[in-house]
């Protein structure tokens, strides 16, 4: 049994050497590398892919990895490697739009909820956010898909809407902390208009937290998009999508298991990358963690 006092007394006993800024650690670097790889794949795909990923060629069906098809071909004869490259595009695209949407809508509302003097306003916003929070992204996306027809757009919007509460709560709690500082209280008493306080003081202070949340939300968006595509509610064919690749190849699990491995690996890598990025940023920026690690 570990000696508890060791873990318990750490905060008190460590000497003050930590006045210096902490460098961005290995977690961040690893995350950045992985995300960079995904980004690279997407960017490269705009300029070049070994084959046209949408090109169906029945003669080339189900080939294993070889010099001409690095990762083989699927049941329609399409080159897997090209699909992976272009799939990266969709993944990142959905992530950016969904997270961007959520951040751009959720953050200001969260700030308003925290700064509003009228309790009714902040309460309503909070309750509304809780309601949306109760509806997971997948469910929303299925509903959207049912009504509007499945597409990348519906997936993005659904995931985006479902992620708003996370940013809202984060912005709200971060703003509340900033508002409680004496500096801000003085500014308020001096009559500085709320908008000025929000933009000049609140935003810069919560920016770090928002970025961290963004990275984590991105990872979740990637997962959601993969699940949606797998179910058929994401990007429709013929545009390549990692999730749909999994669904298309599931029936071949006994004969061509490798076809499942590549998209699975791609998804896992992308999610891992963004999570590590978020964790690495958190180590650097989150003041609450100062004492612990």
């Amino acid at each position: 049994m570990a000696d508890l006092s060791a873990t318990a007394s750490e905060v008190v006993e460590e000497p003050e050497a930590r006045a210096t800024r902490r460098p961005l650690g290995p977690t961040f670097k690893l995350g950045a590398v992985v995300v960079g790889l995904v980004l690279l794949a997407a960017l490269v795909s705009f300029v070049w892919t070994p084959y046209n990923p949408e090109l169906v060629d029945p003669r080339e069906r189900l080939l294993g990895p070889s010099a001409s098809h690095w990762l083989g071909t699927d049941k329609f004869g399409r080159d897997v490697f090209s699909q992976i490259l272009v799939g990266a595009r969709i993944t990142l695209f959905v992530g950016v739009i969904a997270v961007g949407l959520a951040a751009l809508i959720g953050t200001p509302i969260g700030i308003i909820a925290a700064m509003s003097r009228r309790k009714s306003v902040s309460e309503t916003l909070l309750r509304g956010s809780d309601l949306v929070l109760a509806t997971p992204a997948l469910l929303l996306a299925i509903m959207f898909g049912a009504v509007f027809g499945a597409s990348t757009l519906t997936a993005m919007i659904a995931i985006g809407i479902a992620t708003i509460p996370a940013f809202l709560r984060l912005a709200r709690s971060g703003t509340l902390q900033v508002m409680a500082t004496e500096y801000i209280m003085a500014a308020r008493i001096a009559g500085r208009p709320p908008l000025a306080i929000a933009t000049r003081h609140v935003l810069p202070n919560i920016a770090g937290l928002v970025i961290i949340q963004g990275s984590v939300a991105f990872a979740i968006a990637v997962l959601a998009e993969a699940a949606l595509s797998f179910l058929g509610f994401g990007t429709p064919p013929p545009t390549p999508s990692w999730g749909r690749m999994l669904q298309e190849s599931q029936e071949l699990i006994t004969s061509n298991p490798l076809l499942l491995l590549w998209p699975a690996l791609a998804i896992a890598l992308a999610v891992l990358g963004f999570n590590l990025l978020g964790d690495g940023l958190r180590d650097r920026f989150d003041p609450k963690l100062e004492a612990r690690r």
Partner: protein, 317 residues
Amino acid sequence: MSPLLRNAASRLAVFFASIVIASILIFAFMSILPGDPARVALGVNASPEAVRALHAQFGTDRPLPVQYLHWVTGLPRGDFGTSYVSQATIGPQIADRLLVTLWLVITAMIVSIFIAVPLGILAALRHRRMSGLAVSGLSQVGIAIPGFVAGIGLIYVFAVKLRLFPSGGWTPPAEDPPAFLKQLVLPVLSLGLVQAAILTRYVRSAVLDVLQEDYIRTALAKGLGSFRTLVRHGLRNAAIPVVTVLGLQLTTLLIGAVVIERVFVIPGLGSLLLDGVANRDLLLVQGVVMLLVVAALLINFVVDLLYTILDPRLRGA
């Protein structure tokens, strides 16, 4: 009225209000769906009289608010209406499927708790040593894997290669217990292991936070051994944030089950939903979505209540 009761009462009110608002939103949303359910049912060449008759039978010729009220008042009685597409009552379908999904979800929840709590505590106690870092790293990888990917992977290893478990299907437990159990293993693991990875991180974080607190030092200064301090003072307090996450987990599991049911071909609520969408069975989709949302709201409500019970500071003295 004691503050605790007042608190619970107001939460209850909010809960019911949320359900009503959700029902309105869901109904309104599904009503946007273009297309005429009667025409879909009867075919393109149906005569106008037949269409009108069917409309009258479905009740879809009435104004929307009336339709809404009719639908929403039936829900508490378990009356989800009759499908335009399949002509079958929706309520019983949902009930059957719900049971299946519950088996999956609750078992997965239990599995994930049994794995995550000890591992999370271990990771917290040994957070600077190899074992703690290893658990941390493992959980990091675990959360990067979507449940359905894990499912496919498990199928490959245990069903295809090792032939230990079936790759899907479902038998009711009463019919054939051993077959039921065998079919349960892989889907539950797919759902549960991934959730365990997420939960481990939360447990670790909660325990680490609590161990920094001064009252842990006080407990040690009293002469309590490390183990007893952890259990009596640490875990009781670390449980508070963990319980919130458990609630979230349950909701996530419910939704994750939707995908897993696809992977393992299990006739649960999720596949009912997806089938409904594929068949454009409006009313069915409406019903299932409503049920899932109510479940999520209910879980949140219970967690909030639990929170108040666990943490005396929230009882509003």
